[in-house]
């Protein structure tokens, strides 16, 4: 595959990713990440 073609695919995939993020934010999914991240994750640190 030529370099230009790969780059175009890269841009397109990045756009898909950005769109997914936007839909996720619209659905308040970032709040779920927040809820998990502001509590000490006992599993992560080897306690829970």
């Amino acid at each position: 595959m030529k370099a230009d073609k790969k780059r175009i695919i890269g841009f397109a995939v990045a756009l898909v990713g950005a769109a997914m993020m936007a839909f996720g934010v619209a659905d308040n999914e970032h709040r779920e990440v927040f809820e998990k991240a502001v509590r000490i994750c006992l599993e992560c640190i080897g306690i829970g």
């Binding site: 370099a3 779920e32 991240a37 829970g48």
Partner: protein
Amino acid sequence: MDKKRNGKRFNFRLVFQGLWALITNSYLTGFLQGKIYQGKLKNICLPGLNCYSCPGALGSCPVGALQSSLSSRGSKISLYVSGFLIFVGAVMGRYVCGWLCPFGLIQDLLNKIPFPKKLRTFKGDRLLRKLKYVILLLFVILLPMVAVDMTGLGDPWFCKYICPAGTLEGGVPLVLLNSALRETVGFLYTWKILLLALTVILSVIIYRPFCKYICPLGAIYSFFNKISVFKITLDKEKCVGCGKCERTCKMNVNPCKNPDSAECIRCRECIYACPTGALKDNFSSLSVRKDGK
């Protein structure tokens, strides 16, 4: 000349990694009080493996966040987290590993410790590199979704049983600083400390063993190395086949044959080593070489 130049460039990467790790883990109160940051920035995922239970962490770990959504009731696939991983991967690929991962920085520093016999490669090295994909599929995706309790909740298997970054960045400082947590330490903590110790020892002997063989985040970004917007490219007409790039690469990639290999962490050492300027990336125009190549 080459050596001097390489040394200077490597130091720049180290400084960049260090600054990024400091900025994204700059909640000093957490380190002083044995607590974690609870502000709004935790809504945002960071690109590298940065445990969100590190007392200084300002953002969230994408692997932890992904497992959290998959292990929740109904195993929801978070568009926000998966979209973030796809976006970052498609833009940067494994530049994240080379430049923006705090645990990568720690391994880089550990590998600077002198050791009588550093291992560049060994029998089974290539095969072992596939392990990170097995860990991604099994411990990050399948087990958190499938192995659930009566209430339908699963565990973050990778974080819980494997991740040495979480132990180092979150487990060790929090247990040292927080007496309530210290009293709850048990077998799991001992197991994770053993894994961390093994990772530390291996990092002195082998360059970035965790990134090469274990890291599921590196595995995700590796899928995008071929198509990422920012990447290393080879000008075949300029390449003289001297092999300097391959000898320089600590990830054992041959940039002449495969400049966008899934194993490449884009540390740019091959670009600095190339005597003819055949290897370039999107940032090459920013760093003008003294010899003009």
